[in-house]
Each structure stands twice: as C-alpha cells, then as structure tokens.
C-alpha cells in the first residue's frame, strides 16, 4: 500500500515534531520532508513532490500565503493545507483564494489534521469547523426596501436629512448646518424612515447606496 506523502512546514520545531508524530502514527501516511520557513518550504515541495503540503501561514521570510501561491503555480498536483493560529474567517478566505485546499486551526490540529489531510488528498476542500460558520448573521445583508425605492415621495428636506445621516453625521451637527432645531431633524428623519420602511441606520445607509448618494470612498 503506498502511503500518502506529506510535507510539513512550521517554524516552531516542537509543533513540527508533534505534527510529524501525528502523521507518522497513521498507517497510510508518512512525512517525507520538513521545513521551518516559507522559502525552504517551496524548495522542499518542488524537490520532493508530496501529495499534501501542510503549511503554517505565519512563517517568517516567505509567508504561508505566498508559499501557497508558488507551490500551486509550480507544482499544481500538490495539495496545500493551511495551518494557522488565526481563526478569523478572512484569513481562511485569503488562503483559499491563494490556492489552498483547506484551512486547519492549530488549536484543534491534534483532532482535525489527519481528517483534513485525507480530505484534501482526495481532492476535497476542508474548512475547519471553528472557522466555517462565521459571518452568517453579519455580512452581506440583502437590502430590505429595495423594490419600494422608486415609488416613494420624500420631501427635499427629508431626503437631505436622510442623506446626511447616511454620510455619518450626528443629528446635532445636521441641525446646526441646516440651521434648524434637533427636534426638527429628528422629525424629518422619522418621517423619511417611515415612508421608506427603514428601521435602522444600516437600512438608511443601504438605501443611500442604492440611490447613489454615497460616493464609494
């Protein structure tokens, strides 16, 4: 039975030793090479052509993301599994875009690494469960009042106040610049929000983006 050939890249020798014993303990896997920084990793992988390269993304000199890109470019048959201490989903996305087939947290590597190596060796993608479920409630909200936008009549003042709020101005400051009372601004705001079914400032900003009131930075 030919064993799965695994290359390990991590700049912490004790961690690397632990990963090695974990992999070597599997009957169907063997560690064929190791490296302690990104440049060594790229060299080692190109030379040894492993099936899977487990790469720590925060190594010195050439970083993990760059090493991943180089490996994918020069020997695309090698599957790269990113290993990291950073649980931020954004890091995972960065590495997947660089060509990694999977993302494993160091914190749970003892439990998950073997499964992750098998998954990516088979051609699949592995995202650590600790990272996968994030952002669901936070990013990419569908816009609520999209359809109603064109049909509603906002007075000039109501539109002005809404635009200024979307641009991040405080009510007190809006009142001062329009030379009216805070109460007046609050009324315009409330009326506009009611007409457009906008409940929060986030809703207001989304409406403003749709209307083209906010120049993109």
């Amino acid at each position: 039975m030919s064993k799965l050939r695994v290359f390990l890249a991590d700049d912490h020798p004790v961690v690397r030793a632990g990963l090695k014993s974990l992999i070597d303990a599997q009957p169907d896997m063997a560690v064929v090479g190791e490296a302690g920084d990104g440049a060594e990793t790229v060299r080692g992988v190109l030379e040894l052509r492993p099936d899977v390269a487990v790469v720590d993304v925060s190594m010195p000199r050439v970083g993990g993301a760059e090493a991943t890109e180089r490996i994918r470019r020069d020997c695309p048959a090698v599957k790269v599994l990113a290993l990291t201490a950073y649980e931020d989903k954004a890091y995972a996305q960065l590495l997947l875009r660089a060509g990694a087939s999977g993302y494993v947290l160091k914190r749970t590597a003892a439990e998950d690494l073997v499964r992750a190596v098998r998954t990516v060796a088979d051609g699949g993608t592995y995202i650590d469960p600790g990272v996968a479920g994030q952002f669901v409630s936070v990013l990419a909200r569908p816009s609520a009042a999209g359809a109603a936008v064109a049909a509603v009549d906002l007075s000039e003042r109501e539109a002005e106040v809404l635009r200024l709020i979307a641009q991040g101005h405080a009510i007190k400051k809006i009142a001062a610049s329009l030379d009216v009372s805070v109460r007046t601004v609050e009324t315009y705001k409330a009326r506009a929000q009611e007409k457009l079914a906008l409940k929060s400032r986030a809703d207001i900003v989304r409406y403003a983006i749709q209307r083209g009131w906010l120049r993109g930075g």
Partner: protein, 369 residues
C-alpha cells in the same frame, strides 16, 4: 464782615480737583494700565484711541505708536477677516463679541489671544463710524495653548504606545504561548495513540485534552481582545466583521453591519484603530447596559471623513444627566476619538435606544496598503 469767618484765600477749592480724591483715581488709573489683560479703545473704524500698558507690551509697541493706528494692523494675516467681521457686527448693533485670534509682533512669533469686544458708545443706525466707541480686551493664551498642545501630543503618544504594547503581547500569545499549547496538545494526542491504555488512564488523558483545549481557546480570545491581528493584516472592515460576529454569538444580540467605502481601501492606521476601539467599547456598553435586541453598525468613508455609528434599540439613557465617569465609559471614548482628530456624538433618550457616532477627518492618508 465776621472776623471769625475764614479767609476765602485759605479755603480749599471745591472737590473736583481736591488732593484727597486724587488717590482713588490714581489707583484706578494704575489698575487700568497694568491690568492682566490688554485693554484698548477704538472707534467704529477700528482706529486705536486708547491702550493700556499691558496692550502696548503685548504688541511690543509704545502707546504713542498705537494711537490712531488700525487695530486690525496687529492681527496676524489670515486672521484679519474674523476681526473685521467682529468690527462690522459691533457696528451693526451686536453688543459684544468674543473670539480667538492671533496677534502679529514685529520680528517675533505671533501670540495666541482671546479677544472680547463690546460697544461703549453709540447705537446702530446712522452714527458715523468715527463717533462709535468700542472696547477691546485681549488675553494672551499662548502659554495655555502650548501646554494643551503638549498634553495632547503626550496623550497621543500614550495611546500609540498602548496599542503597540497590545499588539506585541497579542503576537506573543499567538506565537509563543499558543504554539506551546498546540505542541502540548499534539504530545498528549501522541501519548494517547502510542499504546492501548487502561480506561481510567484514557479518561485522565481526555481530561488533559479538554483542559488544554480550553486553555488554547482562552489564550486565543485574550489575544484577539487585546488586538486582533486582522486589524493590521487585513484592515478595519474584515477585523470589524469578525469582531461583530464573535460579539453577536457571545451576547445573542443580532448585529446588522453595513460598511460603505471601506471594503477595498484602507484608512490611516490610527483612524482604523480608533474606529475599531470605539465600536468595541460601544458594543461593550450595549452588552452591559442596553438590554438591546438589535444593533446596527455602520462604518463608512465619505469624501475626506471616516465615520462609524453604533445604534442599539435598548433602554437608552438621558445624556444630559450627569455622567458617572466609570458607568458608560463615554469619557474615555471621547478622549480617544479627540486624540485621533475626530469628534464623538452620543444620541440617546430613555426608552429610545442609543447611537454612538464618531467622525474622523482623513488627512489624505490611507489608500491601498
């Protein structure tokens, strides 16, 4: 004629020049001349009619030189429009005005001053400007301004140093402590796998693994709370998105995050840090006090400003009521925002939720990094 009547030649002259009423007048004269503030009197055109000693010293001129000169002459270039606006308003009937400005001195640094002006004689209307009388009080605040600037600079450096320290400690936690915990966890796993173990030992091993896992999580959370690496590596937008996701999961409060113009372009580092900290602290307050169900977080870049607003639908509070320093942490937040060059506004009413808004001018920094 009465021989006892005093000789007219011996009777002292009537009171309006008498020696014993001279003392208070001299005293008032001296009080005017050496008052702590510069005092001047001009006509409606701004020509100096009188000046006290302090004013002359402040302007580094003799009193004789000042007489008849336009006061505006001594106002530093660039600050003159405000002075003439004041003069104009006094002429039109405003009773008094107060403003900050700079006075120019021959061959020397300009002085920062606070000027207070009021009308002494003449009303609005047809009185020609030459007959009006305006009084000007000039207070030299240069030393105070310098001290304030020095204090602000010191506080800014303090904030920077604090963030750098947090960054260092967070990295240490990841790179050193975190790594060792990973190694520990792998070693326990290797021990468990190395040979068949009797059940009690297996259970003890499972305990060790559980504790190590918890340690790993605790260290990670601590590092992120100190300073998330994403803030440096990936930018404000992604770091905030992560923080909001974590906070929402932890507190059970729904978060609606809407960025505008910050997804692709970075802001200056100190502004990104300040915005992150404001949102972080605002959310801490929401968790502690607001009893909110939903929070809306909007962060955007518009023209030359970056803004952030955290709006909750919780219990709100009365912003006019005396703020207790520790209770809402608003004073610390306001100071932080000011040091980064921004302004903080808090809108709230009892039962009406709370909105914290921070706004920072951008000095042409940022851009892709």
């Amino acid at each position: 004629m009465d021989p006892n009547a005093p000789n007219p030649a011996d009777v002292p002259a009537p009171d309006n020049g008498a020696a014993d009423s001279l003392a208070p007048r001299v005293w008032y004269q001296e009080a005017f001349e050496f008052a702590p503030d510069g005092q001047m009197v001009t006509d409606g055109l701004g020509l100096i009619r009188e000046a006290n000693h302090t004013a002359a010293a402040l302007l580094r001129c003799s009193k004789e030189f000042l007489a008849g000169k336009p006061l505006g002459l001594f106002v530093a270039a660039g600050y003159r429009p405000r002075f003439y606006e004041c003069l104009s308003r006094l002429y039109r009937g405003v009773a008094s005005e107060s403003f900050e400005t700079r006075l120019a001195r021959a061959g020397e640094e300009p002085r920062e001053v606070v000027v207070s002006a009021h009308v002494l004689e003449g009303g609005p209307g047809t009185d020609p400007r030459g007959t009006r009388v305006f009084r000007w009080l000039v207070r030299d605040v240069t030393a105070r301004k310098r001290a304030e600037a020095a204090r602000t600079e010191l506080l800014q450096r303090l904030v920077t140093v604090q963030e750098e320290e947090r960054r260092r400690v967070a990295r240490e936690l990841h790179d050193s402590v975190g790594q060792l915990l990973t190694a520990l966890r792998l070693a326990v796993r290797a021990a468990r796998d190395s040979a068949p173990l009797p059940p009690p030992t297996t259970e003890r091993m499972a305990d060790i693994e559980r504790v190590t896992d918890e340690l790993g999580r605790a260290v990670h959370d601590l590092a992120v709370r100190l300073r998330p690496t994403a803030l440096d590596d990936l930018g404000l937008h992604l770091a905030l998105a992560q923080h909001l996701a974590d906070w929402s999961a932890r507190t059970g409060v729904e978060v609606d995050y809407q960025p505008a113009g910050i997804e692709a372009v970075r802001l200056p580092a100190d502004v990104e840090t300040a915005v992150y900290r404001v949102v972080q602290e605002a959310l801490t307050n929401v968790a502690r006090h607001a009893r909110a169900r939903r929070v809306s977080v909007t962060v955007g870049r518009h023209d030359d400003h970056a803004t952030a607003a955290v709006e909750d639908d919780g219990v709100g509070f009365d912003p006019d009521a005396a703020p207790k320093a520790g209770r809402l942490g608003l004073i610390g937040m306001r100071e932080r925002v000011t040091l980064a060059g921004g302004a903080l506004d808090v809108e709230s009413s009892p039962g009406g939720g709370t909105t914290v808004i921070a706004r920072f001018p951008l000095r042409g920094g940022g851009g892709d990094r």
